[in-house]
């Protein structure tokens, strides 16, 4: 029996892979794997509204490191994460439990509990200003006004003893100092904007009088009250039913385009990501293991983890027998394996993977990178 790799098998009934997105992917005549190639058939990101000045992004996170002190020692939860996002685009941060995706978001928002968390190093550049070093007052100002966040559990994120309209307009009243009547009118406008039916009648209702999907809309309205430039949505639809999930994702996409916001979508759901993201950052064990635009990532995943993840998702449109699974479990942040954190679960792992941690290396062209010792061609070749 020859060794065959789980990720190699194609789904039954699936058409042969489309023409490679990157020229030279399967091209034997292609040069080094790191050579930039001109041919790039993926259309540019859908919703780039305005290109930022060269080299400067709206939000630019660089080499962020966060640790937690725990009973079992120091947990390295975020280990040098970098990403950036520009107005009008959606960046998805994809990861499983323990990947550090939520902690990353919390560190960017500045809502980490310290202790136990410690931000060891890194920069969170917002409009060129490092939010990790500014004063607490300035930080508070940015939080909510410039960067807002939507959480997974809308029920616990809303205060049960205040009407939703009051909560939506709270920031407007306390920060902008607008009067009660205006605040109420503004709350109704915001509720209209997030498509809550009969907003004028429901503005004085309490959170428990809303359904899960409607509560999520209330929370989005709350986050948008100050017209933030960046909206971070942490698993915004995980707790919702599929029919409601689709509604909320639609709403977020529409709002992002209308308000020219940058949307950072933190999620574990490959399906949701495929529907709305422009670019994807895949995290594993507190590191970015792959970064690419959405079409490339799904069509030609570079990192073994991304490949495994995509292969292990059951799909409605393919009915196979036996799902391909990644062996093992995601590592505990207090005991991340040496070398490449994914090596114990990786079918391609070699001695080098156990010894040294790979760095995020650009593949082909700008804005595509993978943290694997082996270029995608080498991985493909090993399967052949």
């Amino acid at each position: 029996m020859t060794y065959s790799n789980p990720y190699q098998q194609q789904w039954p009934n699936q058409p042969a892979p489309a023409a490679p997105v990157v020229a030279g992917w399967d091209d034997p005549n292609r040069g080094g794997w790191d050579t930039p190639t001109a041919a790039w058939s993926t259309p540019p990101s859908r919703a780039r509204v305005n290109q930022p000045r060269s080299g400067e992004h709206l939000l630019d996170v660089r080499d962020l490191r966060v640790e937690f002190g725990t009973r079992d020692g120091v947990a390295h939860v975020v280990n040098g994460v970098s990403f950036h996002v520009d107005p009008g685009e959606t960046l998805a941060i994809l990861g499983e439990s323990g990947s550090g995706k939520s902690v990353t978001a919390q560190a960017v928002m500045g809502i980490l509990d310290t202790p136990p968390a410690v931000v060891r190093s890194g920069q969170v550049l917002f409009g060129g200003e490092d939010l990790l070093t500014v004063s607490a007052d300035r930080r508070r100002q940015v939080r909510g006004q410039e960067i807002a966040m939507v959480f997974q559990d809308a029920l616990s994120a809303l205060n049960p003893v205040f009407p939703v309209g009051w909560q939506i307009s709270e920031a407007l009243r306390s920060r902008r100092g607008i009067n009660k009547a205006d605040a109420r009118r503004r709350a109704i406008e915001l509720m209209d904007m997030v498509q809550i039916p009969a907003a004028a009648e429901r503005v004085d209702d309490y959170p428990h009088q809303f359904s899960g999907g409607m509560r999520q809309r209330v929370m989005i309205a709350m986050a948008l009250a100050m017209r933030p430039k960046v909206l971070i949505a942490d698993e915004p639809t995980t707790a919702l039913d599929v029919t409601v999930q689709a509604q909320i994702m639609d709403l977020l996409a529409t709002l992002r385009a209308e308000l020219e916001m940058a949307l950072i979508l933190i999620t574990h759901d490959l399906g949701v990501v495929a529907d709305v993201a422009d670019r994807i950052t895949v995290m594993y064990a507190g590191r970015v293991v792959e970064h690419a635009d959405v079409h490339t990532l799904y069509a030609q995943p570079a990192h073994p983890y991304t490949r495994g993840l995509l292969a292990s998702v059951p799909r409605l449109d393919h009915r196979g027998h036996g799902l391909h699974s990644i062996s093992g479990t995601p590592p505990n942040p207090a005991a991340i394996p040496d070398g490449c954190a994914f090596h114990p679960r990786c079918p391609w792992a070699q001695q080098v993977c156990r010894m040294t941690a790979p760095t995020l290396v650009r593949i082909g062209r700008l804005d595509r990178a993978s943290a694997c010792h082996f270029p995608p061609e080498a991985l493909d070749a090993r399967l052949a």
Binding site: E96, S97, P197, S211, G212, G213, M214, D241, V242, T243, V244, Q245, A246, Q247, M249, D250, H268, D269, L270, G271, V272, V273, A274, D275, A277, V294, H295, Y298, A299, G308, L309, L310, S312, V313, P314, R315, L316, D317, R319, G320, H321, G322, L323, H324, S325, I326, S327, T329, P330, R345
Partner: protein, 336 residues
């Protein structure tokens, strides 16, 4: 067509109403939450019935009824010919050996103060007559091995395992008494994507090896599609459409099924433009006060006056030979 084997489980018109009462001193019944309101289905040996629906549709309550964690309000459920709903405690205890359940949350379904060996071996303590003759430890080790856990870890406690491993422990406990039916209530929804596939594969392998029949309850339609032979779609306490996996997924005739399937995100960005999501407006109505006639009519784009007055029966429709509870059932392919 081959002769189908006798169903191992036959549920007839199962009903569970939770009374709503008002008043502190002398509580008075003012209504009822109709969590499960007349559900019938059959399960044959070795097959998997997928039960799908959104939260509040009654799928988990149905599981609790079948396991007799809740007392049914009405109906019958014959497990190997014995009516589960009308069984006395002693007989029920014996019958429980034939049907077990794997629960959703691997973190709360295992007693944190018991070792894995105690958890997996407990069924033998409760049913000494079903315990293996001789070495109990040996039996526990074999069970752990069967679910892909190292027998050396029998002395550990649940909190020392990851979610996926805990779910395997739960499966081993359910297998101990050699049941013929296992109810899986959202068995993978609390797990990471990369671990979900391991557990689904394990369940499939065990089914092949042991000839188990599964009732697989999940809200993730992709997982259900993957594992199920037959599907029942539930909405507000009723089954609205049922059939083989291909019938329900490829040729859905009930508008709710069509909407549900169209909303499932597809992990393929190229499908964005091709996909047509049927957007349902509004939310699921309260099961305490379901709409008259067809329960789905308040969110249905095809609703007619007839839908409010006349409840559509779950019966075979002309468009495709599988039962669907819609007056205006028509074929609409959602999945490419």
């Amino acid at each position: 067509m081959p002769v189908l084997p006798e169903p191992i489980l036959r549920v007839e018109n199962a009903v569970k109403h939770y009374p709503i009462s008002r008043g502190v001193l002398l509580p008075k019944k003012v209504g009822a939450v109709k969590a499960v309101d007349g559900v019938s289905f059959e399960l044959r040996p070795g097959e998997t019935l997928g039960l799908v629906g959104e939260s509040g549709c009654g799928k988990s309550t149905l599981a609790k009824l079948l396991m007799r964690l809740e007392t049914p309000t009405a109906g019958r459920a014959y497990l190997k010919g014995h009516d589960l709903f009308r069984m006395r405690a002693g007989d029920l205890r014996r019958l429980r050996r034939s049907m077990q359940m794997v629960m959703q949350d691997p973190y709360t379904s295992l007693n944190p103060r018991m070792t894995v060996a105690d958890i997996v071996g407990e069924p033998f303590d409760i049913h000494p007559e079903a315990a293996p003759k001789g070495n109990r430890d040996q039996a526990v080790r074999e069970l752990l091995d069967q679910v892909g856990l190292s027998p050396e870890h029998a002395n550990r406690y649940p909190h020392q395992f990851s979610g996926g491993q805990r779910q395997r422990i739960g499966i081993a406990r359910a297998l101990a008494l050699r049941p013929e039916v296992i109810i899986c209530d959202e068995p993978v929804s609390a797990l990471d994507v990369s671990v979900q596939a391991q557990v689904v594969n394990l369940l499939e392998r065990l089914q092949d090896e042991l000839g188990l029949a599964y009732i697989f309850i999940a809200h993730d339609l992709s997982v259900v599609r993957h594992i199920s032979d037959r599907i029942a779609v539930m909405y507000l306490g009723r089954i609205v459409e049922t059939g083989t996996s291909d019938q329900v997924y490829l040729r859905p005739t009930h508008p709710y099924t069509q909407a549900l399937l169209s909303a499932v995100p597809v992990p393929d960005p190229t499908a964005r433009s091709r996909r047509q999501i049927i957007r349902l407006t509004g939310d699921v109505p309260s099961p305490a006060d379901p709409p008259s006639g067809c329960r789905f009519r308040t969110r249905c784009w095809k609703a007619q006056p007839r839908c409010a007055s006349e409840e559509p029966p779950l019966s075979q429709r002309a468009v495709d030979p599988h039962p669907s509870a819609c007056h205006y059932a028509e074929l609409h392919q959602v999945i490419a």
